[in-house]
Structure formats: C-alpha cells, structure tokens
Subunit: 235 residues, 2 copies
Amino acid sequence: MASNVVEIGAESPERTNSERAYRLLRNDIISGDLAPGLKLKIEMLRQRYGLGAAPIREALARLSSDHLVRLEGQRGCEVVAMSAADARDVGHVRKMLEIEALRDSITRGDEMWETNVITAFHRLESIERQINQGIDDLSEWERRNKAFHVALVAACNSPWLFRLRRQVFDQHERYRRLSRVKTVRTRDISQEHRDLFQAAIDRDVDRATAVMETHIQGTTDAVTAALAAREKTGE
Amino acid sequence: MASNVVEIGAESPERTNSERAYRLLRNDIISGDLAPGLKLKIEMLRQRYGLGAAPIREALARLSSDHLVRLEGQRGCEVVAMSAADARDVGHVRKMLEIEALRDSITRGDEMWETNVITAFHRLESIERQINQGIDDLSEWERRNKAFHVALVAACNSPWLFRLRRQVFDQHERYRRLSRVKTVRTRDISQEHRDLFQAAIDRDVDRATAVMETHIQGTTDAVTAALAAREKTGE
DNA sequence: GTCAATAAAAATATCGATATTTTTGGAAAA
DNA sequence: TTTTCCAAAAATATCGATATTTTTATTGAC
C-alpha cells in the first residue's frame, strides 16, 4: 500500500509564485535562516526572494496556519518564537503521533514499503558515515533523516495521523537545527537509526515504538538542554 | 491554570478584512453552507462577502493549511471533499487527541477550570432541553457543544495537543453537521454529556476518557452510516 | 458523429498604486 | 528626567488594472 508516499512523494512542480514563496519561507524558517521572533517585513522579503508582495502575503497566511509565523492584525507578522517549554511540548506530541503512525505502518507495510524503508535507511546511513568522517552536509542529513522517518510511517493508513505527524515533525526539526551547533555528540544517533530500521524490518512493533520513543526523547532532551542554557543567559 | 482558555477565550476583534474573510469562509465551510467539492471562484466569494479579492485569497491560503480548502496551482480552489473513509479517520484521530488532552486537563484542572466546565455544561444542557421540546437552534447547539468540549480540555498543559485537537474537532464538526439532518436520534447525546460532565467533576480520569471514547465513536458511527448510504446512491 | 485545432471567454495570479494604520522621533509640558 | 502630544516616516492592508493560464465553445477535418 504505502499510499502516503504519493501524498508527498515526488514534489509537484510549482505553478505559482505564491507556492514558491511558501516553500522558500518555510525552508528558511525551519532551517533557522529566518530567526525565531524576527519581524517579517514585506519589503524585506520582496528583496530577499525577488517576488511581489501579493504572493508573499499569501505564503505568510498559509504559514500562520502551520504555526510557523504569527500574524497579527494591522501590525504585520513574525517568525514564531521558540522556547524550551515549547520544545518539550512538541517532543511530547511528536512522540504520540509518530509512535502511533509507526505502529500502524509496520503492521500494514507491504513489500514496496519495506523496499522504500531499506532505500531510505541506506541513504541516511551513507551520509552519517560521511559526517562521522568530518564531512558535514547537515542540510542533506536533515533531508535524508526526514525521508527515513517518512518511509517508516508511509504505510500508515490514517491520512490525518500522517499529516499531523508531519506538521509536528517539522516543528521538532526546527528545534533540532537550532540546537545542533551547540549540542555535543553524546548520543549515537546512527545506532538509534539502525535499531529503528532493524525493528521495523523485523516487524517488531513493540521494539520499534520503544526505540522511537527513546529516539525522539533523546532529541527533545538535547534540544531543551541547549535552549534552557540559552534562555538563562540571553533570554 | 486553565491557561488554554486565554488562547481562544474572548475572540479578538477583527482588525483586517483578511481575518474577516477567514472567519466567514471557515464558518460557511464547517457549517456546510459551502458544500464539499464546491469550486470557490474569487468573483463569487467577492459578491457573497462584499470583500476584495486580495483578502479573500489570503483567507483561502490559510484555509488550505487548515485542510478546509484545496488549493491547486493555476486552477483555483475548492472546498475539500468529504467521505465516509475520511470521517472514520477524523474520528479516530480526534479520539486519540481529545482523550489525551482530557486526561491531562482533568488531572491538572483547578477551581477556575471546574467553574468553567460547570458553566459550559449548564449552557449546553439548557439548549438541549429546548431542543428536546422541539425548538431547534442547531447552530447554537454546535456553539455550546464546542464550548463544553473546550472547557473540558482547557486545563491541558500542552498547547500543541490543544491546537491539534481543535483542528480535528472542527473537521469532525463538519461531518456532524453534514449528517445531522439525516441521522435518527438513537443516541441520547444529552445523557452522554451528563456522564462526561460528572466524570470530569469527579476527577475520574478513567471513566471520563471511557465516556469520551464512546461519545466520539458514536458520532463517528452515525456520521459514517449516513455518508456511506449517500455514497452508495449519489456518489 | 468524433476528434483536433483554435478562437473567445472566463478565471487566476500578480503588479503597481493608494488608503489606512502603526511606529518613530522629537518638541513641549509636567 | 519622565510623560504627553503631535507630525513625519514607515509599514500594512487593500484596491483596481493587467498579464497569464485555463476552460469553454466553435469550427473544420476525417
């Protein structure tokens, strides 16, 4: 089945500037290029992306429903703030959604799903090996990490669970990226991914969800630690 | 604490036409005034609401991230379709989110929360009595039903859970309204609300979540039955 | 009659200009 | 110094016009 792959698989070509603005803004917010709390002035964004005001405003409207920007009445808009408390919350809800989606996906996943999981895992493992050797293409790692997690839950037959999981995953990614530079490598994330992969292929739901729980909690802990430290000093 | 009341409590006054368009469109889609699948032509919406094209387009952009309208490249936009399968999915995810939020809320709810729950319950009970006597103000019932459910989960300390619960609740409401006319009154919804209320006030988490589960499932069943019948004939 | 090509009509997306509102930066008063 | 008021500047929200794309209708070929 793996029907959810279709929903986001091959990205559709952008047909409008509005869609383009949406994608660009979204990426820049999640990556941290546009900092949390930053005031998003229309003129500034026009310059940045070489697009008109109308498509940018529409993109901001969409992003406000995604909870990536905060839109306020007659006084413009800003990148939503980040905090340790919110990171914990996001982590908590992500655990809930992703574990449920994973449980369902592993139960239903067919051969095609399995193939996709294997492919995604190997692509992720390969870049993680490179990174351990000093080459760091973090944004490529983010892409493959995301693809691996999507592949795992792709056979989940609840489109709503799939959709909400994605939304919260993106929020979590934002925190992961924010704290990445600061965080020391105490966890062996590669190992966690290997365990996750093995449990999924073995169709061992309990083990897979347990590993996933640890995996997400680990990220959350690292992120909140980094953020709590920052909040203490800079506020 | 009941901190989430603040987040949606007294609705902020609309400062822009864009916000106004968003609220109007949202209501008309959830209420079914704008039918599922309906093509939303800009000109038609301008006439309907007496607003310009720009604010309407921005509202549609927001609604697309809410998954209430589907926006497609160069070919406009339509109200998202409804189906029995989607109703089941929405019901399933709503159960998950609302039960979790309720568990947390009952555990943490303070005196203020309790007061708000009592108030909301009495307002709902009062309109349900009127409805049983033949007076039917369904949209007022929907408003109070929604307020009661919000009051129950208001002390949940996870803003994300609270937010996602609301989104899925609104989707479910859309189905409830669609099937309302057709559905026979086999369930005593008033009784379910009384049980829910009593369990919440008693701080009996297990009973409250069990009743909630039944409550949501009952709505889902009624809705899917009505929709499945319709899909068989009309498609 | 069906199909393909194409012209006309309709609808969408986007720009540039303008009205409105908020913010800023003093100057005057307390 | 702090506060209050006001005008100037900046930013937002929205309109009206236009370019582009899609849809519809029509015509001619097979």
